[in-house]
Symmetry: C2
């Protein structure tokens, strides 16, 4: 496309691309933006080194190769802050530059946003369902090995407390926590040997896995080996609510009343909610987290919404279609809030900034200016943004049942 | 776990781990193994360099760090060949080594197998549904940016013809093909200008996207610009079957009877099957491919099935559970085939090789011996394996409706 646009003299036309969702996944009431920090890294790093250029020989023309070799994004980007809630047609990213430089970012920006936001959107429902109980990300093994690292990061943005993915710790500072597998118990001749080895190595604060053989016997052994100061036991099978009640009673009877109960086993937000009344202290979540709990991608698209014409004027453009609606024009957005601070609507201004009635909150922040990243936030800031954004949504946001977006999207024309 | 096993003197016990599915995704009749080549790369490359060791300071003890710094897998691995069909409890990988060296591979092996096989399993149903018509992978933007490269590779294993992912071309030699986006047409002041630029740059064999404005007008323009030798037109919206019929008639009338029709737009195996009678020449598949068409992970697990005891004897082990069945013991597998060559059962021998009745096919091939990769296959070999394996399955394999596995899994005791 870039080569052909260079041919027709349109490659350097000023262009505005927008990354947005046409809808939420069926039944979801809100989404959560994640991947912003990774996308900024990707924009900064986006270049064609000698190997990349060599790999494109024969795919594009030689002078296109030269152009690619000197490529750096030099335009501007605005976007929703990482951790922000989003709704249908929220203009999550607005990318302005020449057509050629902006169109090249399409795939990497969509990949990062579609993946990370799918994970964060699922994670947010899980942490809402878990309330004050911590959620731990344990899904690395059920997704692509690099996606796993991004998933741990996105889950952390949306309120998870820690991850078992050590690369996410090294790369992003996501707190790490671990667990022993059944193989560790099975490796030993007796369950008590395994518990003893783990406690000697990791201290009594460790979490012992107690469902390899008989749960009641394992709990008894665990307290015998670690003492009543044992940190936690983990349950990974059976009717978790029922078993947790039995184990809680047994631990209390043994004097281990401070020993926590961690549950795992294909949990999703519904299973977490169903365990609200059970004596469970923490949730370990794997498969359903890293696969977006039924919605592994957000369906974000990246569309040209405005571009320079032959006279140098910026004109709105959009595909004409009845089944895939795109709205031309550069967008601005704010979250309309009532006097009590509760969100009432996602207001998207087309070609003009919507008027703030005093209680509203603008949603687009500068991320890149003249090719320089200016909007980098820490993960802790993203976590705070997530907490605050979800807290101001209508209370129906906590409903786990399928439903409509908790606030409508309102478009304001130019 | 390794640190604790070193503490208890069990880390160097000989151990056999097995990677297997407990079930197929609901309704699926077969699965396809992919990622074998990537897993072998991962085993070869699995080590802890200075940066990785430094990142684990404080997580594990100093002498554990030393052990990690010198880690190389030195054991043996057998597995199903890449492209092979699989069924519940197929022993897809058998990993033998010390506990410590084999347990460390758990996450990376599961990540690769769970992801790549989910994509290949979905892709296989799509290529079956497409019959002789080529399928093109176009889903990079809807999945994590690195998962996208692996997805393109897995789709190719399962019969896709090409991918839009250029990194998959560079890394794995997956044939690449491209398409223009609506943004390219919208960039130009007139649709004809865009078509002209594309044809001048890429030749008349290119594929023109004809649904940005009015399809009939675009088809007319496309042939006017490119001539009757135009390679193809692409449709990306509307009722694809209906529109394809109209476009075919129009192309034929214009004399462009060799111009092909490529369709895209959230296709899955069901949509592809539904278009079988429409005049469509190729399918471009994105979202549903890279998300495994409803099943983004295979649910493979990696379980310790045998290990050395205190006397140096290998003993079978398994977790006791009623809801998560694991079967202890080292496994062997063959595909039982009738005299006509049609598959009849997945036969899994526990602790012993099942007897081959002459028409059967052994499924486990050596992949790694004493830490050296010995079972590397080319992607073309994996594609051939996929074609042959699917071809020998019962004919119900082509049914797109939900159903049971097309062959049963039979366990033979020791």
């Amino acid at each position: 496309m870039v080569q052909a646009a260079r041919q027709s003299g349109t490659a350097d036309r000023r262009a505005v691309f927008e990354l947005f969702p046409r809808r939420l996944p069926p039944g979801r009431r809100y989404g959560v933006v994640a991947g912003v920090g990774r996308a900024l890294d990707a924009i900064e790093d986006f270049c064609f080194d000698a190997a990349a250029v060599a790999a494109l020989e024969g795919v594009v023309d030689p002078d296109m190769l030269d152009w690619l070799a000197s490529y750096r994004f030099s335009g501007d980007v605005w976007g929703y802050a990482e951790g922000e809630a989003y709704f249908p047609y929220s203009p999550l990213l607005v990318v302005e530059g020449t057509f050629a430089e902006a169109v090249l970012l399409e795939t990497v920006l969509l990949s990062i946003y579609n993946h990370d936001s799918a994970i964060a959107s699922a994670a947010s429902r899980m942490t809402l369902a878990a309330g004050d109980r911590p959620c731990i990300e344990m899904g690395s093994r059920r997704t692509h090995e690099q996606a796993a690292v991004a998933a741990a990061r996105a889950a952390y943005v949306a309120g998870f407390d820690a991850s078992s993915n050590l690369a996410a710790r090294a790369l992003y500072g996501v707190p790490s926590t671990g667990t022993a597998a059944h193989s560790f118990t099975l490796l030993h001749d007796a369950e008590a040997d395994a518990f003893r080895a783990q406690v000697q190595t990791l201290g009594v604060g460790t979490t012992l896995l107690v469902d390899t053989y008989d749960v009641a016997e394992a709990v008894r052994l665990a307290v015998e080996v670690a003492g009543t100061g044992l940190g936690a036991v983990r349950l990974d099978s059976g009717d978790l609510g029922e078993v947790a009640r039995d184990v809680r009673a047994q631990l209390d009877e043994l004097g281990a009343s401070a020993t926590r109960i961690v549950v795992t086993s294909d949990l999703d937000e519904h299973a977490i909610a169903a365990l609200a009344a059970a004596p469970v202290d923490a949730y370990g979540v794997g498969t359903q987290l890293v696969t977006g709990s039924g919605h592994p991608t957000c369906g974000f698209v990246y569309k040209l919404v405005a571009r320079e014409d032959a006279d140098g004027e910026l004109v709105s453009v959009a595909k004409k279609s009845t089944d895939k609606i795109s709205i031309g024009g550069r967008k601005y957005a704010l979250r309309r809030r009532g006097p009590s601070g509760v969100a009432e609507a996602e207001v998207v201004g087309i070609g003009a900034v919507p008027e703030d009635d005093g209680d509203d909150r603008p949603l687009l922040v500068p991320l890149v200016r003249d090719g320089e990243v200016v909007g980098r936030a820490t993960l802790e800031e993203a976590r705070a943004r997530h907490r605050a954004s979800v807290a101001e949504l209508p209370r129906s946001v906590t409903m786990m049942s399928a439903g409509e977006p908790v606030i409508p999207t309102v478009h304001l024309g130019p």
